[in-house]
Amino acid sequence: MAFLQTEQLFTKKWFISYTYIVVGTFLVAMGYVYFITPYKIVPGGIYGISIVLHYVFGTPVGLTALLFNIPLTIIGTRLLGPRFGTKTVVGFIMTSVFVDAISYFSQYKPLVENDPFLSSVFGGALVGAGVGLIFKSKATSGGSDVIAMIIARYTRLPLGQLMMAVDSCIVLIGFIAFGDWRIPLYSWITIFVMGKTIDAVLSGVNYEKTIFIVSEKHQEIRDKIINDLNRGGTFLQGEGMYNGQNKKVIFTVVNRRELAMLEEFINKIDPKAFLTIMDAHEILGQGFKSLHDKLED
């Protein structure tokens, strides 16, 4: 399995990738500079450590982070193989540059004074949106995740858990350094919002529903879906577990509005139908965004 993505220089795809990285790192930097750093929130990661060091020794946040990222990436490459491409390096350098440049203008003052809760939420949202865009360009976030990857390799513990453990340690360092209980609490809010926002950016916010319909009137329902809603679907050949009767299960995806129309219709012809409705996180294919669009955009 190749972890490194190679793209030709100056193609459209290359251009889009780097646009994501530039916009993403800018958003990350705005989040740190205007919302997180001024309130001494320590949301894990290299930037969490750099924020603690900034308040203890007065070092610039971006430069400190860069000084951590370079050796970590080198150690990571030696221990884990060539996993981190040019894009990862470009990403963390730009983040550092943006953070220190914007800090120069902001003078470490928050955008909104006296409201750390609001700032922890929007700091998480901005950093999450930025990191999501960076991930979209297929770069990794580098930094403290490398530590988790190395520990995972030697201990065989699950990576997701280790990332949380590493971040929690950094949050606790913030608590010890600043001696204020509010720091870990606000930091966990930021971490939570960040995680949710990364997911939303990566898979999009989606109002489509996946439905499984078990009904005697599968033929009529099929006609409604195909002819009136102009959607596709798949019949699964099933057998009732209760009495071994043959059944057809309809598997289809519709949007919220179509779902209401379909429910109304099914209720008319077979009120005893069995429907399971789920949020689809992402639908790719005919009638929706195509897989091709997703990977190329």
Binding site: L111, L118, M241, Y242, K272, T276, I277, M278
Partner: protein, 309 residues
């Protein structure tokens, strides 16, 4: 396809619809009066514009010393928007939509008159909390109005018209239209807090509308692949008293025939089943998906849902 719902006047369904609209409009108006308007938050929509205009017209009219009432201004915007909407989009907006927005405006201005507009609940040191609860009330009120099959009218009509000509998805356009109104608030009030608080209100409102309309479900859909499907079947049918469907499948690795069990359970039943499967076939493969909504035998029936209203 007809968008207008015809209901017989004074039938049970009609009375229920209008009760939902009255209660929904009242809760919606209360959300604005107690939590949003006093702190100049601008959460999109015609009332968002109303809040900005209210502030801009302070001391302009002698009979409205604090500015044009928010409800009245919302109404003044809603009437032409609805007329334009009907012209451009066809008769999509029924009597219920009109009753909904008229009632919301009336409730809003009456509540403001009785409770004042100067920090009625004393939350000025905790505007964040006001935003969250304002969003909850607005979302709940709108959810009830939507349940009666009325639309919210207002700025959504602008989004629908743009959507008709540009073919962009409606959900996205609604967010854009509201965001423009939020930024209008930033420009007028010149305070970064306004857009940030406003986005919190918009976010909470959206979530609460969804919860109000579809409920919170703790039911799980399970796809189980196990060689012991017969044993698992009898556990589900005989002990848990649930139904299910066998779906024949083929393993992708070596083409062996497999039987997939497709069933839906609540959280507790799922825990019991997992315990059982763990004992009978520890190698079973199970996919658990949160179901938003289950309709049919053993759960709420489809007719209950469609006719609920």
């Amino acid at each position: 396809m007809s968008f207008l719902q015809n209901e017989k006047i004074f039938s049970a369904k009609w009375i229920k619809s209008y009760l939902l609209i009255i209660i929904g409009s009242f809760i919606l108006a209360a959300g604005f009066v107690f939590f949003i308007n006093p702190y100049n938050i601008v959460p999109g929509g015609v009332y968002g514009i109303g809040i900005v205009v209210h502030h801009l017209t302070r001391e302009t009219f002698s009979f409205w010393p604090t500015g044009i009432p928010v409800g009245l201004f919302g109404l003044v915007l809603n009437i032409p928007l609805t007329l334009i909407g009907i012209k451009v989009l066809g008769p999509r907006f029924g009597v219920k939509t009109v009753v909904g927005f008229v009632l919301t405006s009336v409730f809003m201005d009456f509540l403001t008159y009785f409770f004042g507009e100067n920090d009625p609940l004393g939350l000025k040191d905790d505007v964040f909390m006001a935003c969250v609860f304002g969003g909850v009330l607005i979302g709940f009120g709108l959810g009830l109005i939507f349940k009666s099959k009325a639309t919210s009218g207002g700025s959504d009509i602008v989004a629908m018209i743009i959507s008709k000509y540009t073919r962009l998805p409606l959900g996205q356009l609604m967010i854009y239209v509201d965001s423009v109104i939020v930024l209008f608030g930033l420009v007028v009030f010149k305070d970064w807090r306004i857009p940030l608080y406003s986005w919190i209100v918009i976010f909470v409102t959206g979530k609460v509308i969804d919860i109000t309309m579809q409920g919170v479900s703790y039911d799980k859909m399970l796809l189980i692949i196990s060689s012991e499907f017969e044993l698992i079947r009898s556990k589900i049918i005989n002990d848990l008293h649930r139904g299910g469907t066998f779906i024949p499948g083929k393993g992708m690795y070596n083409n062996t025939d497999k039987t997939i069990i497709f069933t839906v359970l609540n959280r507790r039943e799922m825990a019991m089943l997992q315990e059982y499967i763990h004992q009978t076939d520890p190698h079973a493969f199970m996919t658990v998906v949160d179901a938003n909504e289950i309709l049919g035998e053993g759960f709420r029936s489809l007719s209950e849902k469609v006719e609920e209203l």
